[in-house]
């Protein structure tokens, strides 16, 4: 077939030498990495059809898995699912290669070499867990229970994150337990929480013919849905084309989403707050607001109006910051205000910044003042990710602890390195922190200090090499679990279909077994190894989850139910916050469960909250310090390593930094670093790190690549396929150049997810270049979207 042409694709057929080598092995039995190549094909589909789901990403697709003799033989989409329409992206299909991959970790191992060297010996589960428990106990006795940090990456699933691992941490007594959320969506989480009183999958809209598929205008701001939730995007784009709705994409890159758009506006990274403020300014100045909605349903709009007008946050002010012409900002603001059915999709392009929360709040204000809320076909959607499913140990079983070091694991690195504000001395981790956390050099320094590290995963990654114990995990249809977060509140039951390989076990099984050795079995019970009982008995305590029993989920013809469902047999929820409705279960009978019952843009209570961090609830403009334009930024009064303040926004006590906004950051070296680095998700075949062990994903995207604009590439003497070096003040990496239009000439884009020990195409990950600080003061969201760098040909 023709030569591959896309980013990261190899131009020679040597791309799969490793896979070809495996072909010489026995293909009829045993484990081969090229499954399902040459697997028996008796009939089109297997004899047993099992309804299940994909556990990779936030699209939350339902699937049908076909089984023969206890083995999964093929999979398809679920045509009875109206949200996916039976469609599937390549990742779900690559899962077939994961179940039978020869790269899988099959038994527990103990480190025999130095940290980072990657030498291990096989041990039994009992040996591994007994020893680990003993080592952790030593750490607790010396440094206190908070000295243990636990990171539960998205791969390990919500039954671990919010169920078994959460109970483990409560019983152990460490507040330092995090999922990936502070790297992804704590900004939008808090923005919706503050504005509409609750996190409910964006503004509560759903993927349905009369709601999100029925808009006349779609504004995508920092959201590459086509490559990150391809099935959701395909469904939406199909309706959009049929109905003739406009699609405008605001993104520094012309992503696959932007390639489908009617209009692409290449905004400067980190400038979205300026765009939202300029829209607010224009809408207020021209009275393009929904007066009825403001009067009845919006609190604090006068303060916001006065603020943006007094500050002069006009489209002209925003033009040099965003590099979007003032006339375009005005025109788009007017088009949005005058289109009743208009939807904003905003995601990681906004949330992964140190101004994450204020950017989201300002954008939500734009929607609120124009009345684009609480209606079908109008809203703001973002992947928010805090489901009300947290398991709770009895209070008398939870040791008193110090507050959490920081909300974000990026803020734990300092506690590992310097022991301040108090030491973290042990880490239990899943996922691949050594690819995905920022400032890899500092992280490695921190890990070198630790007394115990365990890694629970599917494949041996760079993170595994740093662990003392490797614990083999089982996932998805090998385990039985629920989906990741779906942006429109769907919960999918992922049915167990096959047995895990070797001695691999579900993540929750591992937490239960480790807990048993520490005396937690009366709460973190043996019977929770059954995912049905873990979900039903430990995780559905919130009344909004009452109607989402495993039995109902498993019996649902669509493959999912949408929360909240307040009674056992109540109907699945649809669009929330519609006029005349009450937020499900709200005792105050409110439409929006905020203190005022209205959308809250500014209140004295919010002002008090922001003041704790040195900010105002009125969204004053600031952005990243490291960029080509000198712009207002934040400076730490108390940063990582200092106590800071007790954060008022999280349920559990947590320390946070204190900042002040300064006009221009000192010490930014624009002379040696003359380009702006953006990171993000690679093309569709990859999700974070784990798809890099699947051979077919390599055929679609093999190498770490650096997307450069042809003009800049020509000036640097770089052509597609050249090896380039990218340096930031924190480190250097190499990648293969992909020269193509569709990116700002001053920017270079490098995707996340590679690591040094991946089997096919190992590369040093881009997070060697990204900073730990500053993070968003309130949400503690790390910045993955803007760093200064320089690029040269190797």
């Amino acid at each position: 077939m023709r030569t591959p042409t896309g980013p990261g694709q190899r131009t020679d057929e040597g791309v799969l030498r490793a896979a070809w080598r495996a072909l010489r092995r026995d293909l009829t039995g045993g484990r081969v990495e090229t499954f399902p190549y040459s697997a028996p094909r008796e009939g089109v589909l297997g004899p047993e059809e099992i309804r299940s789901g994909c556990n990779i990403c936030f699209n939350s697709c339902t699937t049908r898995v076909y089984r023969r003799d206890g083995k999964a033989v093929t999979m398809t989409g679920n045509p009875d699912d109206p949200v996916t329409g039976g469609h599937l992206c390549p990742k779900s299909q690559f899962l077939m290669q994961m179940y039978y991959s020869e790269h899988r970790l099959l038994f527990p191992q103990r480190r025999t070499g130095r940290r980072g060297e990657g030498r291990f010996e096989r041990v039994s589960w009992d040996e591994a867990l007994d020893e680990l428990a003993a080592r952790l106990s030593l750490v607790r006795d010396r440094d206190g229970p908070e000295a243990l940090a636990v990171f539960t990456g998205s791969r390990s699933g919500l039954l671990a994150l919010d169920g078994a691992a959460e109970l483990f941490c409560q019983l152990w007594g460490t507040p330092n337990h995090s999922g990936t959320n502070p790297f992804c969506g704590t900004g939008p989480d808090l923005a919706f929480q503050m504005t509409q009183g609750v996190e409910a999958g964006g503004s509560g809209n759903i993927f349905a013919e009369d709601d999100l598929w029925a808009a006349d205008l779609y504004l995508f701001v920092g959201d590459n849905m086509a490559e990150t939730r391809p099935v959701n995007f395909g469904q939406l784009n199909d309706r959009r084309l049929r109905r003739g709705a406009r699609l405008v994409v605001i993104d520094p890159r012309e992503t696959a989403t932007a390639q489908k758009a009617d209009e692409w506006l290449p905004i400067r990274p980190g400038a979205d707050l300026a765009l939202a403020l300029a829209w607010l300014h224009h809408l207020f100045a021209r009275e393009l607001v929904d007066r009825g909605f403001l009067a009845n349903w919006v609190e604090g709009h006068e303060q916001v109006r006065e603020f943006v007008l007094a500050r002069g946050y006009s489209p002209e002010w925003a033009e040099p910051i965003t590099e979007i012409p003032a006339a375009t900002i005005r025109r788009l603001g007017e088009e949005y205000a005058r289109t009743p059915r208009a939807v904003i999709f905003a995601n990681r392009g906004l949330s992964q910044h140190s101004n994450s929360l204020q950017t989201f709040r300002a954008l939500l204000m734009v929607a609120a003042v124009t009345g684009h809320w609480g209606r079908k076909g109008a809203g703001v959607m973002a992947i928010t990710s805090d489901l009300p499913i947290k398991a709770e140990a009895p209070p008398e079983r939870r040791p008193a602890t110090r507050p959490r070091v920081r909300r974000s694991p990026a803020g734990w690195i300092e506690a590992m390195r310097s022991g301040r504000p108090y030491p973290i001395r042990a880490l239990l981790m899943t996922g691949n922190p050594l690819s995905l956390w920022p400032d890899q050099a500092a992280l490695r320094e921190g890990l070198s200090n630790l007394d115990a590290i365990a890694h629970i995963e599917l494949f041996p990654s760079e993170s595994s090499a740093w662990a003392d114990f490797l614990l083999p995990a089982a996932t998805g249809i090998e385990a039985g679990e629920i989906n990741r977060y779906a942006e429109d509140r769907r919960i999918v039951w992922i049915e167990k279909v096959i047995d895990p390989p070797g001695e691999a076990r579900p993540d929750y099984w591992i937490w239960i077994e480790l807990g048993k050795r520490l005396g937690f079995a009366d709460v973190l019970k043996e019977e929770y190894k059954d995912p049905v009982r873990l979900w039903d008995e430990a995780m559905r305590r919130d009344p909004r989850m009452r109607g989402l029993s495993a039995a109902r989920l498993r019996g649902s013809p669509t493959g999912w139910l949408r929360w909240p469902i307040l009674t056992e047999d109540g109907p699945g929820a649809e669009t929330l916050f519609l006029p005349g409705t009450v937020y499900p279960g709200d005792p105050g009978g409110r439409r929006f469960p905020t203190p005022s019952g209205k959308l809250e843009l500014w209140t004295p209570a919010l002002e008090e909250t922001f003041k704790q961090y040195g900010l105002s609830a009125l969204p004053e403009f600031y952005t990243e310090p490291e960029q080509l334009l000198p712009l207002p930024t934040i400076e730490y009064v108390a940063g990582d390593g200092e106590e800071g303040v007790l954060s008022p926004v999280w349920e559990t006590p947590c320390l946070a930094g204190v900042v002040r906004i300064v006009a221009e950051p000192p010490g930014v070296d624009r002379r040696h670093y003359d380009m702006e680095l953006i990171t993000g998700r690679p093309p569709t075949p990859h999700f974070h790190s784990w798809t890099h062990w699947l051979w077919q994903a390599q055929e679609q995207c093999a190498d770490l690549f650096a997307h450069l604009h042809p003009d800049r590439a020509a000036a640097l003497g770089i052509r597609t396929g050249d090896r380039v070096r990218i340096e930031s003040p924190r480190g250097a990496i190499e990648a293969v150049a992909w020269v193509a239009p569709g990116i700002r000439p001053s920017a270079v884009y490098v995707p996340l997810g590679w690591d040094e020990r991946q089997p096919y195409h190992p590369w040093r990950p881009v997070n060697w270049l990204m900073p730990r600080e500053p993070r968003c003061p309130v949400s503690d969201q790390a910045n993955f979207k803007m760093s200064l760098c320089r690029v040269s040909r190797v």
Binding site: M1, R2, P4, T5, G6, E13, V15, L16, A19, W20, L23, T34, P36, Y37, S38, R41, G43, V44, T74, M75, T76, G77, G86, H87, L88, C89, P90, Q93, F94, M96, A226, E227, P230, V231, F233, G234, Q235, N237, D238, L241, R246, E254, A256, T257, Q259, K260, A261, D262, E263, R331, E335, P683, T684, P685, W695, Q696, E699, Q700, P741, G742
Partner: protein, 182 residues
Amino acid sequence: MPQLALMIDLARCIGCGSCEAACKLEHRLGPGQFRTRILTLPRPDEPGRIEFVKAVCQQCERPACMRACGANAITKRASDGIVVVDPERCTGCQECVRACPYGVMSFDPRYQRADKCTLCVERREVGLGPACAAVCPGHAISWGPVEELRARAADRPVRDADHFGLSPATIYLEHVPARVPA
């Protein structure tokens, strides 16, 4: 009998490669073996933008592969117009692979024979459509009798892909012009 074909909508394809994955899973294809492949190419109507093009057998009226085959292993079926390779006759010489100007004849190195898209003849026999069309997240792939497909998209301009005089059957629907604000 009608000519069956695929219809690819360039306005809908997001280049995700799900069609490649479904094809390889369905037909158990190995590394480097593709019956279909997504190409990322400059957009002819708007230089500076890119487009995603699903490369796949064109089920030509005068197939170059068929002409090139010295073993008479390639035929165009009268029943549905699909070009098929007879694995018993194929000698693995790869003349057809070189002859196809669309670059979409695949080769199975394990069994040393040409391998190609048949619009999933095995699936069609049990009442299912081609695997790629079933999964495509973008709604970019449809299939059926070519006249029916043309009628279904009568309002959409079709890209001329017949640069080689082979009368390809696969239909590529052009991009939709950008909508300007009212």
